[in-house]
């Protein structure tokens, strides 16, 4: 592998990793406060990408279209919580998981029925797809911009979590929901904020996905969602920095393993799963996680 190819793959890995990281944050935050694997999260990412696509088709400027996608995803995310999860807060966890699966399947099939299952080409603006060249490395500009935007947004998320009142409430909820309620915090409102933040980041991840593989389809959220969840577990579920770390590790692994062993290309989607198994076998709390199971239950 020449230095050029190595650098090129490094940037590609960072770009792919950013996407996983953005989606993984939503999983890890929802799991932190509700102890729920939000199966619908990958599909919310799909919704975000689709809405952005439709806004673009309606010849809105790209930046505005992304905002439309994010806003739509936030609404769907909050509605999901209000309709499907909130009435079941005190029910056994298996009920919550089943409604989550139900929502996920509902969104996938609704979009298939409405817009068909054939992939739709996603036309990103030219300033993102233009290919430039330095020292024999050819890269689309988006591959550089995606990690930069991601890192900036992560800084914002961490600032919210650690410096604002709401952020402190989110972390407190993850620690002990009952006590936090007794302290006069409106838990439902905070949970709503968590869903809104997670959905917004997922929608952004969906847009990045659509730019990188320039097509979208109603089932795109399943496998990406699964991988992002694996990334969240790898980093330590419940920890936002862990989710980011896990996302980048997964992104780099996928890109480099396929670059070095092209024969394994067909198994690309399986790496996340092996990571998941390895983590569960050797370090169930992940790289940066605490033992959440003992924390509250």
């Amino acid at each position: 592998m020449t230095l050029q190819i190595f650098l090129q793959q490094l940037v590609n890995g960072a770009s792919l990793g950013s996407m996983y990281a953005l989606i993984a944050i939503g999983y890890t935050m929802v799991y932190g406060v509700l102890r729920l694997i939000n199966f619908a999260h990958g599909d919310i990412m799909m919704v975000g990408a689709f809405l952005t696509y439709f806004a673009l088709e309606a010849s809105m400027p790209f930046e505005l279209s992304v905002l439309v996608g994010i806003a739509g995803a936030i609404i769907i995310g909050i509605l999901t919580d209000k309709i499907a999860y909130k009435p079941l807060r005190s029910a056994p966890k298996i009920s919550l998981l089943i409604t989550a699966i139900g929502i996920s399947f509902f969104l996938e099939n609704l979009f298939t029925v409405l817009f068909g299952s054939t992939p739709k080409p996603f036309h990103a603006p030219e300033y993102l797809t233009k290919i430039f060249q330095i020292h024999g490395i050819y890269l689309p500009i988006s591959v550089i911009i995606i990690p930069i935007v991601t890192v900036a947004i992560l800084a914002g998320v961490l600032w919210i979590l650690f410096k604002t009142k709401q952020g402190i409430a989110i972390r407190a909820l993850a620690f002990d929901i009952e006590t936090v309620k007794l302290m006069g915090v409106n838990a439902d409102k905070i949970i709503m904020i968590v869903f809104a933040m997670g959905s917004a980041l997922a929608a952004l991840g969906g847009v990045f996905y659509a730019i990188s593989y320039p097509s979208i389809d109603p089932l795109m959220g399943i496998i990406v969602g699964l991988k992002a969840f694996a990334a969240a577990v790898l980093g330590g579920i419940g920890s936002v920095t862990g989710a980011v770390l896990g996302g980048f590790i997964l992104g780099f692994t996928e890109i480099f393993v396929v670059a070095m062993f092209p024969d394994l290309g067909g198994y690309k989607d399986a790496f996340a799963f092996f990571f998941l198994i390895l983590v569960l076998l050797f370090k169930p709390t992940g790289l940066m996680g605490q033992d959440l199971e003992r924390g509250r239950f």
């Binding site: 694997i37 499907a84 009435p87 998981l97 569960l280």
Partner: protein, 338 residues
């Protein structure tokens, strides 16, 4: 004594129905009955891990695929295999595998059960919902594996010309066996231990139950019957492709066990008939509709939208399903005592 006589009469009635149906019913209706029998096997075993043991898993499509592929490879004659593997030559071991139908489906079941054992070691080390996501991923991996190993599975083309040995004697017979086995497990000490794991794992541990072992037993038993069911499905459909074993299959089974009541085997029986029958009746939703001159285009997937709404509504308003975790006989008993 009374109970034994009643059960024997019920079993005799089911056997009589199977013989009657196989010989007199029209092929189309017989196909639905066969489908119900196969899905009953799958749903009963799925309910053992999800309902009785309370470990939420999403794996049936993976285990069904394993069973289906093993059975198909063992049933297809060697000469047919040589012609069928179009992408690459079949691996020598594939050509050597051949056996009778019963051995083939049991091998499929054992293979699935073995994989379940391997999965349970990482998954049941941690408590909680990792099982769900690992088993969901497992279903995808099986598909990826089937597509990427054409020397074993003929890749995305799948296998066809599988001898159609499975008829209602096989499907109905094995469904009956599965039902009896499941009922026996539920009312044995294992079943009670499994239920205690579901209801309160800490209390179960405190009472000296090895919860890891119980979960693994339930998972392996469930996988075995899912593998056997997959074998029956392969032989009955006579053709299989990797895409057939998508998450949709798991979703159908999930609807069935939730509707019937998590943990109730007779509930599963009733729900299988309702859901599989309902699937047939709602088939019109996926096709073009003409009502009073209004024309609606065909919308493949519409049925699944309806079923996912059904699932969510059930979880919100009727979480216990038709029977909760009781059996039909419990309900009759209660009425009598009143």
């Amino acid at each position: 004594m009374n109970k034994i006589v009643r059960n024997l009469i019920l079993i005799a009635a089911v056997i009589a129905f199977i013989i009657f149906a196989q010989n007199t019913i029209e092929p189309y209706d017989l196909r639905i009955i066969n489908n119900i029998a196969i899905f009953l096997i799958l749903a009963l075993s799925y309910n053992l891990i999800n309902g009785v043991t309370g470990q939420f898993s999403l794996e049936p499509n993976g285990f069904i695929a394993i069973g289906a592929y093993f059975t198909a490879i063992m049933l297809i004659p060697t000469e047919t295999k040589v012609d069928m593997y179009a992408l690459v030559d079949p691996a020598p071991v594939i050509l050597q595998m051949h056996s009778s139908f019963l051995v083939a489906i049991i091998t499929g079941g054992i293979a699935a059960s073995f994989i379940a054992l391997l999965l349970s070691i990482p998954v049941f080390r941690v408590r909680g919902d990792y099982l769900a996501i690992v088993t969901l991923g497992f279903g995808f991996i099986i598909r990826i594996f089937a597509i990427n190993n054409p020397e074993y599975t003929n890749g995305a083309l799948g296998l066809n010309d599988i001898p159609q040995t499975a008829n209602l004697y096989w499907t109905g017979g094995i469904a009956l066996v599965a039902f009896i086995v499941m009922i026996h497990i539920i009312y044995s000490k294992f079943g009670r231990a499994m239920k205690s794991v579901r209801d309160d794992e800490d209390a179960a541990t405190a009472m000296g139950i090895n919860t890891f072992k119980m979960k693994t037993y339930a998972f392996m038993t469930s996988a075995f019957f899912e593998g056997v069911g997959g074998g029956l499905l392969a032989s009955y459909l006579s053709t299989i492709t990797p895409d057939q074993f998508s998450f949709l299959l798991t979703f159908q089974l999930l609807i069935i066990i939730v509707l019937g009541g998590l943990g109730s085997m007779s509930g599963t029986l009733v729900a299988t008939i309702l859901v599989m029958g309902g699937m047939e009746m709602l088939r019109f939703l996926d096709e073009e509709i003409n009502i009073f001159g209004l024309h609606f285009d065909a919308h493949p997937g519409m049925r699944m939208v309806v079923f996912s709404i059904l699932l969510i509504v059930m979880m919100l308003f009727a979480r216990k399903g038709l029977l909760g975790d009781r059996e039909l006989s419990d309900i009759f008993k209660r009425k009598k005592s009143r």
